[in-house]
Structure formats: C-alpha cells, structure tokens
Amino acid sequence: MSNSTTAQNKPESEQPQQQKPQVLEEDDEFEDFPVEDWPQEEAEQATGSASGTNEHLWEESWDDDDAAEDFSKQLKEELKKVEGSS
C-alpha cells in the first residue's frame, strides 16, 4: 500500500531537480519525528553563531520614523498642496 499511495517518489531517477521544490510545496503535512523523545538541550539552538543563545527573535518596535523616505516625502508635498489651496 505504501508505494501506491506515494507514487510520486517511486522512480528515483526521474526529475531530480523537481524534487526540491516539491519538498517545500507539497509537504504541508507535519511529519512524524524519527525519535520518540529527547532532552530539552537537543531542542535549543546550537550556540555556534555569534549572537549566542539569547538572540532576539521578534521585533516589537517597527514604526517608521524616516521622514526622508519616499512615501513620507510625497505625503508631505500633498498635504502642503492642500493647505495652500484651502
């Protein structure tokens, strides 16, 4: 049964270049883990990178205060026009 349900991976020589996107595109399924249990140390990120274990994962402050950015500059011009006319 197993080989008939997963027909796409049967011929191994076929389209090796197509396989890579398939892994990401088709596999939305949460696969079974190969091991049953592991200690918490094995879950944590390796500390090899320069930033260490406690690198920050989330940006809480993202407001854009750059008045020189294009959108803001255009907006400023537009608001000026309105002020001038009214």
Partner: protein
C-alpha cells in the same frame, strides 16, 4: 485436508504474546503493509488453500482464533480480539492492493474491530500499538486517495446521486478521523492506573496524544477543524498533564493546538502554544520547525510583533522571509491599497498564504495595523505636535485634523488609480467617487449591472419587444386580481402595472437618489464617516490613544507633554496587546502540571478525585 503449519505456528505465537501482554511484539507480528516477508506469503497461501473466502471457512477460522484468549464461564473473556484476528487473516487473504478503495474499506473494518478490542478494561492495552499502527496505515491511505480524486470519483458519484441536497459529503479522510477518534476516546477514558493530575500516564492513557495527534492530522487534512473542539475539551477535562508525555508527542500536539487556536482568532494562546512547540522541537527537525514557524510568525504579526532577521535567517525558516518580509514592510509603510493588492486573489503571495490557510486572517487582522501606520505618518507630516515653547503653559494638546487624513486617503486612491501596471482598479480616479456606500472598499464591477448608471440603457424601447417575449406571461398576463380580490381580465399585450414612462413619472425608484451624485462634499462626508470609524476602532483597541472630536473632526492626543505626541498617541502595538492579554495566559486544551505552591495542599489530599457517594445515607436518616 491441507495442513497449515505456518498458520499454526503464527497462532501459537500470538497466543503467547497475548498471555505475556506484549503489545509491541504483537503489533510487530500483525504486519499488513507490503513488502511482506516470505513467511507471510506462505501463510497467505495456506489461508487461501485451507480457508478460501466463504462463511464456512470464516466460522472455522473464527473457532481457531477463539483459542487465543482464555475461556470463562460466560464464553470468551475478550471476545472482540479473536474476531479481530480472524478479520486480520481475511484481510491478508483477500486484499487486492491494486484496488485502493477496496483496500481502504477492508482496512477500516479491521481497524474498527481492533478499536473494539482496545475497549476491554483488562486486555485492551495489549492492542494499543496495533491500533496505532493500523490507524497510521489507514491515515496514509486515506490521505493518498484524497490527493487522487480520480480514484474515488465513482463512489462520490454513487453516494451523491440519490439525495444530493441533504447529503453532506463525508470524505474518506474524515471517516478515518472518526475511527481514530474512537480509539482516542478509549485511551482517554481508561480508568486503570492512578488518577489525578500528578499521576504519570499508565495503560491506555499512554496513547492519548498519539491517537489525538493522528486524529488532528486527519481533521486538518479534511478541513473539519470544528470537529476538533470536542477533542480539546475532553483533553482539558480528563487528560494527565502534557508534560508527562514524550517530546515528539508534546511538540506535535502543541503544533495542532496552536493552529486550531489561531484559526479561531485566539492569537495570544495560539502564540503561547506554537512558541512552546518551537522551543521544544528537536533542533534538527527542520521540516517540523519550518511548519511551526509558518504559523507562529503570522500569529505574532497579527499582534504587532515581527520576525527578526536573526529568526528569518535560521535554516528552518527557509522560504519564510520572502513571504513575511514584504507583508511586514507593507504594514510599516501604511499604504492600505498596496497592502490589499498584495493580498488580493491574483497575487502570488496570496496564493501561498491561502494554501497555508492564513490568508483571510492576515487580510482581516493586519489591515488595521496598516491604517495605524498611515495615520501615524499623516500625523508626523501634517499634525500639530504641540508648542515646545509653551511647555509650562496650558496650550492645546497635539492633534490632527481628520480632513488631512481624508485628503491623504484620496491621494492614495489617486496614486493607485494612475499606476497603469495594475490589472484592476484599486482606487478611484478624481471626480469618479461612488455616490454611496464605502469610500475605501472597492467593489469590482459586476457585469450584470453594467450600464445601469445610464438611465437610457434601462428603458430602451427597442428592448421592450424582447422583454415582453421573455417575461410577457408575468408583465402582461391574461388577467389579475384587483385590490378587492376580484379577477380582472387583461387585454393581450397590455402591461398590467401600467407604462413606466407615463404612469410612474412622478416616482423615484433610485434608493440612493437623495445623495446627489456630483456633490464632492457629500462623498467627502461619506469618506469622513469611514475614517472616523477606522480611528474609533483603533482607539477602542488601544492601538492609538487620545480622543476624537466629531464637530470640526480632529484626533487629539492629551497628556503628551512628558513622553511626546508620537509615543503617547501611537503606543507600541505588541506592548499594548501583551499588557492586555498576559492577564490570562491559560491555553485551552493544554493540561499543565499543577502549580506546586498554589494547589500543593489540595492535591496532597487527593484533590480532583471523584468520591462515589451513591452508597451514603442522606443526612438525618438512620
């Protein structure tokens, strides 16, 4: 009569395994998936020869299987099990894996019987590994068939044929989920072992999350998330703490729970569950970590927390930056039309989000953040920021005229309309505003209503003939009942309701007729109403702080002297939401270890245990 040496030996071994209660080995013996080893092939050959399909040999085979369980006075002590083994043999003998649908049905029957055997309070636990094994094969088969609809098209036709209207299609995946749920319930309600929140899972309770996870996988696959609700509440009520189970089961369960909460818009508990799944997931399990992040990231974005570059550069985040980075940038940017365009059906990103099941959530929940950014930018460029000189005196608080926000919105709409690259019209060209309805939501032109703006089109006289030909039986019927209820004959071709041009000249049919079409002020006030509503929503949610004035519309930011107008009027989104949500960090569906300090005393006294009082006498009786 043909002898069956292999079958005899096989039955002998099964008997021993049952006696030793060796569930793991029993599952190992009851193989069903090809490729099967030579010994199984020989056993199948014996079965076909000695017990060919038919009721007589089924009875004979059943009798042999009865010997597997000890006999008691009332018959077999575990009667479901011999029937299961007999079904196993018939399955091995009859299955034709070329026919996947038939294989599916046979296997479902086999699993059903195995789940019945699981129900036994003494012996059931012995078949737990077998139930899990068969469930997994069934799930794999059902999901495989689900992806190849041509193989099951004929049963869908057959089932749907008779009473299509009242028939809700139950897919093979959902049917499988229902069988697996039965097994889950048997595990959850097992009474053996020590009860209570401190007890480690024993017996069938060890299988609670294995079965729950498989069932959830199937429910997610067939899109029947609502059916999971009952499972989560039974787990909350009856399960031992999740912490007692192995890491693989914990992570898988928290992933599904998080996704379930996310799709119910419970973003804060969803974020806790998914973050915990991510933190506990093995660091080398990249595909699982990737899927967890696929939901953890949007969950945080909705609450105003964006993934850092450090996170997006992790190996498991492969492919996620290109989806979520542009989205975050659009939220910061503040152009609501660009945001909508990014998530419109035609865009590639939208297709990816839709496949992951998060498109609608992102559309509905992130747009308010875009508007916040927009208001903030308009305030920076066009608001009154307070007089720095007049600090000591009582000057007016910082404010923004909403008229400026209105002008800026119009500017955005014009900007998008003049970009020729758009396949469709997002904004409205100058002087081309709706006379009614929303000024910020674009309704795509419906071909059915084209030309209705031009009254000439509606009552074109050369259409009359066509219309009468089509609807004459209604518009100019043979007769009608008058006001008194008496029948009146009607001359052929005579319009019963009269001639629209002549008899209804005085009437106004356009329900929007009062809004004068060309009046710029009128549309502005419609847009102003919408802008006021959006701001009111931002204020109610705490994403902006201050108050609105309606006459001479303004957004004012009082109390800004100390911290400045921007941080006061536009507080940090995540911190605002977090401050509100952290009060209740309970995650429904996640059974935690009891906290040692608060409930320690009660738990020592056996808190949570049910005391049976059915034999107790009522107070006052002797």
């Amino acid at each position: 009569m043909a002898t069956t040496p292999i079958l005899d030996q096989f039955l002998g071994s099964l008997g021993e395994l049952v006696q030793n209660r060796d569930g793991g080995k029993l599952q190992d013996f009851l193989q069903i998936e090809p490729p099967l080893s030579e010994i199984y092939q020989q056993m199948i050959a014996e079965l076909r020869q000695r017990y060919p399909p038919g009721s007589d040999s089924d009875t004979a085979l059943q009798q042999r299987c009865e010997g597997l369980v000890p006999k008691t006075k009332g018959g077999s002590s575990w009667s479901a099990f011999p029937t299961f083994v007999r079904l196993y043999f018939s399955f091995m003998r009859d299955v034709n894996i070329e026919n996947l649908l038939e294989t599916y049905n046979l296997l479902k029957g086999l699993l059903n019987q195995c789940v019945l055997s699981l129900g036994d309070s003494q012996m059931g636990v012995v078949v737990l590994p077998t139930v899990l094994y068969l469930s997994k094969v069934l799930a794999k088969l059902a999901m495989g068939l689900d992806r190849r609809p041509e193989l099951i098209a004929h049963i869908l036709r057959m089932e749907g044929g008779s009473d299509q209207e009242n028939f809700e299609k139950v897919t093979l995946v959902e049917k499988s989920a229902n069988v697996v749920r039965e097994a889950f319930i048997k595990c959850l309600t097992d009474r053996s072992g020590t009860p209570g929140p401190h007890a480690k899972p024993e017996g069938k309770r060890k299988g609670i999350y294995l079965m729950a996870n498989l069932c959830l996988k199937l429910l997610f696959q067939c899109g029947k998330l609502r059916n999971a609700e009952q499972m989560f509440s039974s787990i909350s009520a009856q399960s031992p703490p999740l912490a007692h189970f192995p890491a693989s089961q914990r992570v898988t369960y928290l992933y599904y729970l998080g996704r379930y909460l996310f799709s119910n818009n419970l973003f804060y508990p969803a974020q806790i569950a998914l973050q915990s799944a991510y933190d506990q997931c093995h660091r080398q399990a990249l595909s699982q970590r990737n899927l967890i992040l696929t939901y953890l990231i949007p969950c945080n974005i909705v609450m105003g927390r964006f993934p850092s570059q450090a996170l997006l550069q992790r190996p498991e985040a492969q492919g996620l930056a290109e989806q979520f980075d542009p989205l975050c940038r659009l939220i910061v940017h503040g152009d609501y039309l660009a945001f909508r365009e990014h998530l419109s059906v035609n865009s590639k990103s939208a297709q990816w989000f839709a496949r992951k099941g998060i498109l609608l959530t992102l559309r509905n929940r992130c747009e308010i953040l875009v508007w916040r950014s927009f208001c903030r930018k308009v305030f920076i460029q066009g608001g009154y920021h307070g007089d720095p000189q007049a600090q000591a005196q009582r000057g007016p608080p910082p404010y923004l005229y909403l008229q400026k926000l209105l002008m800026a919105t119009r500017w955005l709409q014009r900007k998008h309309n003049t970009q020729p690259s758009n396949g469709h019209v997002n904004g409205l060209a100058e002087g081309e505003h709706h006379g009614y309805g929303s000024q910020t939501i674009e309704h795509p032109a419906d071909p059915e209503f084209t030309g209705l703006d031009d009254p000439q089109n509606v009552t074109k006289s050369d259409n009359d003939h066509e219309i009468l030909k089509k609807y004459g039986d209604y518009l100019a019927s043979d007769g009608y009942f008058d006001e008194a209820g008496n029948w009146q004959d009607n001359a052929p071709g005579n319009l019963i309701d009269g001639e629209p041009e002549l008899d209804y000249q005085e009437c106004e049919f356009n329900p929007y007729a009062t809004s004068t079409y060309d009046d710029e002020n009128d549309q502005s006030s419609l847009l102003m109403q919408e802008i006021e509503s959006i701001l009111a929503s931002l204020l109610t949610q705490g994403l902006m702080r201050g108050y609105l004035t309606h006459r001479n519309p303004r957004f004012a930011i009082p109390g800004a002297r100390l911290r400045g107008a921007l941080p006061t009027g536009f507080p940090n989104v995540w911190q605002t939401i977090y401050a509100r949500e952290k009060e209740d960090s309970h995650v429904p569906g996640w059974v935690k270890l009891p906290e040692p300090t608060a409930t320690g005393a009660a738990a020592l006294g056996g808190g949570g245990r049910v005391v049976n009082l059915s034999g107790a006498r009522p107070v006052g009786n002797q």
